[in-house]
C-alpha cells in the first residue's frame, strides 16, 4: 500500500515538474518573441519615474520627431542587411541632403562656388531654386544616386559592400563640407515650406503619420512585392537566387538605392524640422542605425529579420536617447554610452545565438 502511495506521489511530482518546465519553455519562447516589447515597457516605466517630463506634449512631439529619421535610416540598414550587405554612408547622405535643402531653398544652387563666399546666414527671404516639390524630388533623387553608386561598386565591380559604402561615407561628407565651407547654414524662416513638417494634421503630428506610412509601405513591399521577396531570397542564398532567375546584382543595387532614398528623406525631414543645415552633423548615425537594427533582430548574415523587428529596435533606442537627453547628459557622453552599448549588444547577440 505504501509503495503504491509513494509511486503515485512521485508521479505527481514528476508531472508537476514537467508542467513547470513546459511553462518555463512556453515562457521562454514567448519571451524570445516579445522580449523587446517587454524591455520597452520596463524602460518606459523607468523613464516615467525619473523624468516625468517625458509625457509632456512638447517632449512627446520631440520624441516622435526623433523616431521618424531613425526609423528611416534603420529601414535603410534593414534592407541592405537583408541582402547580406551593409551601408555605412547613411549619415553622410543625411548631411549632404541637409546642406542641399538649405542651399536650394534659400538661394543660389551654385552657392558653394567659390567657397570663400559661403555665408553663415542666408538671405532673409527664402528663395527656392525650383518649385519646392521639385527640390524635394531632386534631393531624394540624389540619395538614390548615391545608393546606386555604392550598389554599382559592389555588385558590378566587386568591392565588398561595406568597403564601397565606407568610401562613400567619406566622399559624400567631403562633398557636403565643400558645399557648405564647413559652416552651418541657418535659415531665418526655418526651412520654409518644410516647416510644416513639424506641424500636425488634426490631432496627429505629421511625424507620427509619416512613421506609420513609411513602416507600412516598406513592410508591405518586403512581404508582398516580388522585388521585396527577391531581397529575402538574395540574402538567404545568392547562388540559389541566381539560379532561380533573380538578378542578384540588380537586387543589390536596388537595396542600396532604397537605402540612399530613405537616408535622403531622413536628412530632408530633420533639416526641415530644425531649420539648420550642417555638414558636420549626423556623424555616427550609421552606428546608431546598425544598433537599432541588430537590437531588433535582423542579422548581418542576410535573409533574416524585417521591418517589425527593426521597429522594436528603433523604439527602444529613441526612448533611450530621449531619456538621456532629458537627464541632461551631454552629446559626447551619450556617444560614449551608445558606442559601448552597441558593442555590448553585438557581443550579447553573438552569445545568445551560439
Amino acid at each position: 500500500m505504501n509503495l503504491e502511495k509513494k509511486t503515485i506521489f512521485s508521479k505527481q511530482i514528476v508531472d508537476n515538474f514537467r508542467s513547470g518546465i513546459d511553462t518555463m519553455i512556453q515562457f521562454k519562447s514567448f519571451f524570445k518573441k516579445y522580449w523587446i516589447i517587454i524591455f520597452f515597457t520596463v524602460l518606459l516605466i523607468f523613464v516615467t519615474i525619473t523624468t516625468p517630463f517625458f509625457w509632456s506634449k512638447y517632449n512627446l512631439l520631440g520624441f516622435i520627431s526623433l523616431i521618424l529619421p531613425f526609423l528611416c535610416i534603420s529601414i535603410s540598414l534593414t534592407i541592405v542587411m537583408l541582402v547580406g550587405e551593409i551601408d555605412l554612408s547613411v549619415g553622410s547622405t543625411m548631411a549632404l541632403t541637409s546642406i542641399l535643402v538649405m542651399v536650394m531653398f534659400y538661394g543660389n544652387f551654385w552657392l558653394w562656388l567659390p567657397e570663400a563666399t559661403a555665408r553663415t546666414v542666408l538671405s532673409s527671404t527664402w528663395d527656392p531654386v525650383m518649385p519646392p516639390l521639385m527640390i524635394i524630388i531632386f534631393i531624394l533623387f540624389i540619395g538614390v544616386l548615391i545608393g546606386c553608386f555604392i550598389g554599382f561598386l559592389h555588385a558590378y565591380i566587386g568591392l565588398q559592400g561595406f568597403v564601397a559604402s565606407l568610401v562613400m561615407l567619406y566622399l559624400v561628407r567631403g562633398i557636403a563640407m565643400c558645399m557648405s565651407g564647413g559652416k552651418p547654414y541657418h535659415g531665418e524662416f526655418g526651412a520654409g515650406p518644410l516647416e510644416f513638417l513639424s506641424g500636425s494634421i488634426g490631432k496627429f503630428p505629421i511625424a507620427a503619420i509619416l512613421i506609420v506610412i513609411i513602416s507600412l509601405i516598406f513592410y508591405l513591399f518586403l512581404k508582398y512585392h516580388t522585388l521585396g521577396r527577391s531581397i529575402y531570397a538574395t540574402g538567404g542564398d545568392p547562388t540559389t537566387a541566381g539560379l532561380m532567375g533573380i538578378n542578384v546584382k540588380r537586387i543589390k543595387v536596388l537595396a542600396y538605392a532604397l537605402s540612399g532614398l530613405l537616408a535622403a528623406f531622413a536628412g530632408l525631414w530633420l533639416t526641415g524640422y530644425f531649420g539648420v543645415g550642417d555638414a558636420r552633423s549626423f556623424q555616427g548615425y550609421e552606428l546608431y542605425a546598425i544598433g537599432m537594427v541588430v537590437l531588433g533582430g535582423t542579422m548581418f548574415k542576410g535573409g533574416h529579420g524585417g521591418i517589425i523587428n527593426t521597429l522594436g529596435g528603433v523604439m527602444v533606442f529613441s526612448l533611450l536617447i530621449t531619456w538621456l537627453d532629458l537627464l541632461g547628459i551631454e552629446f559626447y557622453t551619450q556617444n560614449m554610452i551608445f558606442g559601448f552599448l552597441i558593442v555590448f549588444i553585438l557581443v550579447l547577440n553573438k552569445y545568445t545565438t551560439r
Binding site: Q160, I175, M336, G339, F340, V343, V347
Partner: protein
C-alpha cells in the same frame, strides 16, 4: 647582454633589408600593384620637386613628422587588415590617448601650469599608461571581433564610444602645456631628422620581422587567408585577433602621445578622419583588404604617397574638405584597381 641585443638587432635589420630588396626584385615581376605604388610614389615625388615650397627644410621636416604619425597608425592597421579585418576606431583612440596625455599631466590642476605636483605619475610611467590605454581599447576590439562580430561593426562602435569617452573624461577641453620629457622626445631631432622618426624605423623593423618570423605572425596571415583552415590547425582566432588589435591600439597610443608632445597640447578633437588615411595607406601600398596577403613593407610606399598627396594639395592651396575628397577618391581608385588585379 647589450652585445647580444645589439647583435640581434643587427641581424633583424639585415633580415629586414634582405627582405626589402627581395621584395623589390620580386615585386616588379610578380606584383604589379607594388610596382605601381612605387612608380606613383616616384612620379609624385618628382612632380613635387618642381613645386615651390616643397623642397624646403621646414616642409620636409614637417613631412617627416607626418610620416611618423601616419606610419605608426598604418603599421597597426596593416596587421589588422591582413587578418581580414579593419580598424575604424584609430582616430578615436588617437583622440583618447592624446587628450589623456595632457589629462594625466594636469592631474588635479586643470588649466594651471604643470609642475611636479600635477603629474599623476612620472612622465615615463605616463607614457606606459597611455600605451596601456591604447592596448586596452585594442583588447576590446580584438575580443569582440575575435568572437565573430564583423570587424567594421565593432570598430564603428568603438570609434563612437571612445571619442565620446575622450570628451567625457576631459570635458571636451584641451590641456595646454606638457612635461619636459614628452616635449623633448616628441619635438626633438638629430640634425633635421626627428627622434621619433627613428622610433618609426625601429617599429617598422620590429613588426616586419614579427610578421614573417614568429608563430603569431604566421598565424595572422593564416587567419586572413582561411580562418577555417587556421582553426583546424590549432590556431586560435580569438587570440590572434586580440593580438593584432592590441598592437594597433598600442601603436596608435604611441602616435597619440607623440602628437600631444609635439602640439604641447592634449586635445580630444584630433584624429577625425585618420582611419581613412590609414586604410588608404595600407590599401594603396598593396595589402589586400580580403586578408592573407601584404605586410608592412607594402605599407611604406602607401604612407609616403598619402603624406605627399596631402602635402601636394596643401601646396596648391586646396581646402581641407577637398583634401578629404581627394584621399577618398584615391582610395576608391586603388580599391577598384586591386579588384581588377585580384589574386585568383
Amino acid at each position: 647582454m647589450r652585445i647580444i641585443f645589439f647583435k640581434k638587432s643587427c641581424i633583424s635589420f639585415k633580415v629586414f633589408l634582405g627582405k626589402f630588396t627581395k621584395n623589390f626584385k620580386m615585386s616588379f615581376r610578380e606584383k604589379p600593384l607594388l610596382f605601381l605604388s612605387y612608380f606613383i610614389l616616384g612620379s609624385l615625388f618628382i612632380w613635387m620637386c618642381g613645386i615651390p615650397g616643397f623642397l624646403t627644410v621646414e616642409n620636409l621636416y614637417i613631412l617627416l613628422h607626418r610620416i611618423v604619425h601616419l606610419g605608426l597608425v598604418s603599421i597597426g592597421m596593416t596587421l589588422v587588415i591582413i587578418t581580414g579585418g579593419i580598424d575604424l576606431s584609430v582616430g578615436s583612440i588617437l583622440a583618447l590617448t592624446c587628450s589623456l596625455t595632457g589629462y594625466f599631466q594636469h592631474w588635479g590642476t586643470w588649466y594651471g601650469y604643470i609642475g611636479q605636483g600635477s603629474f599623476i605619475a612620472p612622465e615615463p610611467v605616463i607614457l606606459l599608461m597611455i600605451l596601456g590605454v591604447g592596448g586596452l581599447v585594442g583588447m576590446l576590439n580584438g575580443f569582440a571581433s575575435g568572437i565573430g562580430i564583423p570587424d567594421f561593426a565593432v570598430t564603428l562602435g568603438t570609434m563612437i564610444g571612445i571619442r565620446g569617452a575622450a570628451y567625457a573624461i576631459t570635458g571636451g577641453m584641451k590641456t595646454f602645456g606638457l612635461g619636459p620629457m614628452t616635449n623633448n622626445i616628441a619635438k626633438g631631432s638629430i640634425g633635421n631628422v626627428p627622434y621619433v622618426f627613428f622610433v618609426l624605423v625601429m617599429v617598422l623593423i620590429f613588426i616586419s620581422v614579427f610578421e614573417r618570423k614568429t608563430a603569431m605572425g604566421k598565424s595572422i596571415y593564416a587567419i586572413g587567408e582561411n580562418p577555417r583552415v587556421a582553426k583546424l590547425s590549432g590556431i586560435s582566432y580569438l587570440k590572434t585577433k586580440m593580438m593584432v588589435y592590441i598592437i594597433s591600439g598600442i601603436l596608435v597610443g604611441m602616435a597619440g602621445w607623440i602628437l600631444a608632445g609635439r602640439l604641447d597640447t592634449g586635445d580630444p578633437k584630433v584624429g577625425v578622419g585618420l582611419e581613412l588615411d590609414a586604410i588608404a595607406a595600407v590599401i594603396i601600398g598593396g595589402t589586400n583588404l580580403y586578408g592573407g596577403f601584404g605586410g608592412v613593407e607594402y605599407t611604406i610606399p602607401g604612407v609616403l604617397i598619402i603624406v605627399l598627396a596631402r602635402n601636394l594639395m596643401v601646396l596648391y592651396g586646396v581646402s581641407s574638405n577637398v583634401r578629404l575628397i581627394g584621399i577618398a577618391l584615391l582610395l576608391l581608385v586603388f580599391l577598384i584597381l586591386q579588384r581588377l588585379f585580384r589574386r585568383k
